[in-house]
Symmetry: C2
Subunit: 382 residues, 2 copies
């Protein structure tokens, strides 16, 4: 969740370009509250243990929707409801890795996912990215090195659309190359696709799951970015065999289905047809925020600063001029009331990110984004 | 959650002495619904990412209550809100064990917790129980054996009150002996105390946490048995150092505080003072069910059958006569519409439980309990 604890010295007046959270103003809608009312009129099932694979009505809704949107033919046994993408990443790490076993990630990657993998004791390796995603030659070279050490990765973890922290989307061509590598070297692709529904400009490329026809791909989705993180609700699609493994693991058998109360509310909300309209509203709102940030960057940054141009999601990735350190910029902007993330935490080798910062446009009030970027420009200009 | 999927051939008319679930009739009360209404009138915070240690108002309520009930002096940093005891057991296994490392459990123990530990690849060892809990001589012998192999356990997992599956409570004397062993051999006691508030007859003995003054003890509590499992809400108390480790692990950092929506509803419910009255209601209801089952067992069992007499919780543990197999009794009662659990799944060595069955009196309608025990008696009598 990108460290929501306020850093020392920050006041409530600070502007957060730090938190990868949805716009708080989008979280409670009358339609959502109506769904709550409906469920609470007869809440027994929502308050009991849920079916292990998840709330049936929500599963049915998601299977239909994903099949339609990703041109798939999933059955119910290809999907499981989870308590947010955290639950999914942790469960996959628990069941598909072992301590010392190799896992490959993008460089950079989502800091909290790296943390989850580290908690499972895996040996993380990473592949550098350019504007099209990870670079295939470097990926293949790494795989050959790992093969020589007899430690081929069990997993490749990727955020293919509007990547955290860079905002980059992996191109179709790269996706196909990665699938080729997955088949040649026998690893599973974990496609963490929680920003997929927040495409502002053009449709996202076909998913790894679609391109590989589901073979050796586990795709993660979430309601945290597009409905409300407090629900703790997401889903996983995978082969029936993988889903069976998730459903019959210890934590699922012990706890039952994920977030039964939230799942029943969201099922009601989605079945009433509200989610698609809400997504359209979110895309309009976040597109405007993205445009505001990019315009401000163009206006206030010195020419040696560069940044990505995300076509969706929450993040812009900034490369600082020359030897300027992200951690110094972070500390200096903080003194002026602007919070942002230094680049180091997103890399296995922190030094690789020491000249980067990540800016988030999803959370701060729209009116504050321009102010914050202006302050950042002043700090960088010295 | 004790396998809620209906076994093949079971109809909706079947009587479940299988599920370790609360009485469904107790799940939705007007007081609970009023708390929901209150939270949903201003739901923004409940729908956002929560503070990593948990919802502050719920933490404050629990710290006060636990201090009062267990004669402790916990501070806020000794408690974390979790998504049910499942979340706690899994997180403890992830952070306090390693594959191949030893963990000691009671024999028998809660099947789903064994499953969680197995998913983490630990080497499970167990100590046989009598009516007072695990037998200390055997425990110490096992520790000496493990010490010789240089694989002392990091954890001892226990359900001290109204144990699942036996209904037994560990005596005060045994608790003190186990704490002595914990200090001598350097393992942490994981005290899974989810039935503690369901004492029917006398007060529970002082907790391991109280007796050890919190040293090397992690205690787990839950709202699943005493309010509603669908909330996915529980807590952990431990040293500030352990709680810090839980709060700053990857999954907590990624997902934020556990079940924010449910936590805020439950905080409101508890702060209004409703939970204690609800617990009193539950104790009365479950005591009547327990008495009904014990009376029926006395009436319908042949003299060679023996069973435990729980003074709280959900379970009675039955020892079958001679060479009679629990799995056969389970299959035969199932044909007559009664579901129960065979003993094998609760043991590391399944054969140790082949002459046992577990009966649950919490879930089936009260009127069905006597009928089900009568059918069981007929099956055992042949």
């Amino acid at each position: 969740m990108d460290n929501p604890v306020l850093p020392q010295g920050v006041t409530a007046d600070s502007i957060s370009l730090l938190l990868g959270h949805p716009d708080p103003a989008t979280l409670a809608t009358p339609q959502f509250q109506a769904a709550v009312q409906h469920v609470m009129a007869s809440p027994q099932a929502a308050l009991a243990y849920g079916d292990e694979p998840g709330h049936p009505a929500l599963m049915e809704y998601l299977v239909d929707r994903i099949n339609r949107e990703q041109q798939l033919a999933l059955q119910r046994e290809n999907l499981m409801i989870v308590a947010g993408s955290t639950h999914a990443v942790d469960m996959i790490a628990r069941l598909y890795t072992q301590p010392g076993g190799a896992v490959i990630v993008e460089s950079p990657s989502y800091a909290d996912s790296l943390h989850v993998f580290r908690d499972h004791g895996v040996a993380l390796h990473s592949v550098a990215m350019d504007q099209g995603g990870v670079m295939i030659e470097a990926f293949e070279k790494l795989l050959k090195q790992l093969a020589e050490k007899d430690n081929l990765p069990s997993l490749y973890y990727t955020i293919p659309n509007f990547h955290n922290p860079t905002g980059i989307s992996t191109s179709l061509e790269r996706r196909l190359e990665i699938i080729r590598l997955s088949q040649e070297y026998g690893f599973t692709i974990v496609e963490d696709d929680v920003y997929r529904d927040l495409a502002f400009d053009t449709a996202v490329p076909p998913s790894f799951y679609t391109l590989a026809n589901g073979k050796n791909v586990i795709q993660i989705g979430s309601f945290s970015k597009t409905l409300a993180p407090g629900l703790r609700l997401g889903w996983v699609i995978a082969s029936a065999e993988s889903i069976h493994r998730f459903v019959f693991c210890g934590t699922t058998q012990m706890g039952g289905g994920a977030s039964p109360l939230a799942a029943q509310i969201v099922a009601e909300y989605c079945q009433r047809g509200h989610w698609d309209g809400h997504l359209e509203h979110l895309r309009r709102g976040y597109r405007l925020r993205r445009d505001t940030m990019l315009t401000a960057l163009g206006q206030y940054m010195s020419p040696e600063v560069s940044w990505t141009t995300p076509s969706g999601g929450f993040f812009v990735w900034v490369t600082l001029p020359g030897e300027m350190q992200g951690s110094v910029v972070k500390a200096e902007t903080l003194k002026r009331g602007v919070m942002l993330a230094a680049g180091e935490g997103y890399f296995i080798n922190p030094d690789d990110g020491k000249h980067n910062i990540r800016l988030t446009y999803s959370f701060a009030p729209l009116s504050d984004i321009k102010t914050a970027v202006r302050i950042l420009g002043e700090v960088i200009a010295g």
